[in-house]
Amino acid sequence: MALIRNREVVDHDPWINIVDDETVPHDADVIVSLTRWQRDHVGLVQRTGRSGVRVGSGDELDGLIQHLSDISLVALEFPSFKDGRGYSKARLLRERYHFQGELRAVGNVLPDQLFYMARCGINAFEVQAGKSLDQALAAFGEYTVTYQAAADDPRPLYRRTDRG
């Protein structure tokens, strides 16, 4: 697995995934499940380490919104490329709830999805190492024109430029 953040390969990822019944280190940057966050967020926030939350594709964002400013990273699960719910969650987090932290796509992320994910506000991606990585980095620049508004620009094409 390799990590791309803000269009660069990241050599060292400080974030650790914690399973629900595991103890959370005081000073580490940890990613916990949404359930864990809802249960333990008070304690999690009192640590020196940053807090991140893993959101499943079927989860509702309600459980996250309340204390969004305490969260530094949201990991959106993409269990299969067919499951497109994460794209809506990403846009809502960025555009509706003004989430400023790292929005990371985890799971089955193919290079060919990155352009759409980036447009939806996702700025970090877990991808397969190897050839896919080069493909992935190239994917961001594949389209120089977009028609519609999204998280990357709230204006549709005709509001960004003079058309026709």
Binding site: F81, K82, D83, G84, R85, Y87, S88, K89, R91, R96, L110, D112, Q113, F115, Y116, M117, R119, C120, K131, Q135, E142, Y143, T144, V145, T146, Y147, Q148, A149, A150, P154, R155, P156, L157, Y158, R159, T161, R163, G164
Partner: protein, 553 residues
Amino acid sequence: MYVYDQYDQRIVDERAAQFKQQVQRRLDGDITEDEFKPIRLQNGLYLQLHAYMLRIAVPYGLLSSKQMRKLAHIARLYDRGYGHFSTRQNIQFNWPKLEDVPKILDELASVEMHAIQTSGNCVRNVTSDHLAGVAADELEDPRPYCEIIRQWSTFHPEFAFLPRKFKIAVTGASTDRAAVRFHDIGVRIIDNDAGERGCEVWVGGGMGRTPHIAKCIRPFVPYVDLLSYLEAILRVYNQYGRRDNKFKARIKILVAELGTEEFTRRVETEWDQIKDSALRLTEVELDRVRAHFTPPVYEDLPARPHATLAASLSQDRDFAHFVRNNVKEHRQPGYCAVMVSLKVAGIPPGDASDTQMDAIADLADEFSLGEVVVTHTQNLCLPHVRQRELAALYARLREWDFAHPNIDTLTDSICCPGLDYCSLANARSIPVALEIAQRYDRIEVLEDIGEVSLKMSGCINACGHHHVGHIGILGIDKQGVEAYQLMLGGSPSDDASIGKIVGPAFSREDIVPAIDTVLNTYRSLRTSPDERFIDCYRRTGLQPFKEALYGAH
């Protein structure tokens, strides 16, 4: 028609370039078929029974003669010399080689065409009335709004992986010729009680395994709010549409399971948040797109009523039949729209050869201001024909087998490719259509039967719209053997209804005789030759037909 600006052009060019790379990676073995499949599907490339099939988008069915010639060229150079016009106003090629598809996409891009999003779980081609822009009963041309929706949905990053495919249709006439009530979203242009012009929004129509008639969830949306409203619907669907079962994943299931009220509430709640955003269309943008669809400069000609036209031509009986059945009323006096029938005995419904496509392009230039429209009933339409040139056009259409006067009759049937071509099919549909066409080849017989729509699908996916045929046939698999279910009484239009299955399925040998029985029963029951099949059926109900087919019990 819409003409690309530099941005539209760049989008199709970059997509073609991207797909070229992806095909190369597939052929080199750098990506697996599993990884390639979603990519290939988003570019309209299916792997079918015998070959790849490329589905090319024809937005709202409209083609220039130049584009038609390019399609002919593609059929000739990269395929087996023919193409198939589909029930979503698109064109399909059945035999492209994988390595040629990037070249085909380049050729298409050179004439402002593409195969973007003609497959996959995304927003598909936006379809419309084939008489859009010229219909006598049109309130307003729906095509600018189709084009605006097309652009908004093209590579929409949030809606590329919906639970299932998504189909939108727009109509601007008082008679719905676009089947909007059987689409995931149907839009009708209307004037509200306050006299304002805007859109009525219908959601949750569809055919397939479980046919549904759409519900009107918003009686009125001003034009400027159309896109934000659609985005709200798509966002609710993307988040809450079922993903556990492919056959329960369309929006019609979500609307049915939540109930119209709750579904509408969710849409309206989302819409409240976004309607004042930059999604709101500007008058500048609306006008920019509308300007591409201003009516052409017509000659100032006297109107010639249809009846007198047909009567004065009664010397040539074939021509009289042609005028009566294939020529449609036009909003401009002295003009008409001419249907080009692709339902000819011996040829699969909706197919045309490369030379036929070239011929139609020439005829479009000479007789129809360079435009031709693909209809969702798998025919073509020349939309701007001068009435005084009908005889000349007719003679030319005859040379190419385009003049069969069977529009809206039994043999003007919709028929999907079926098991002869399609890997989803359970039974063949084309041979049944061809047998019926051969059996009912006399125009006098067809006219006596009168207006009746026969629609055939080779499987439950209903690409042949069998649920909404006056007579519908569904091909099924009965332990490895083809069988055919018959249904009656469907209609796709304002009088929307879903056909009822008559009884047990028929064998291949018995299905066409069953059609004979249905038509004979109709003829014996009708109050007069003027009572249409569908009206007769609605009056008498299923019972007499059931008895005639299966015997009284």
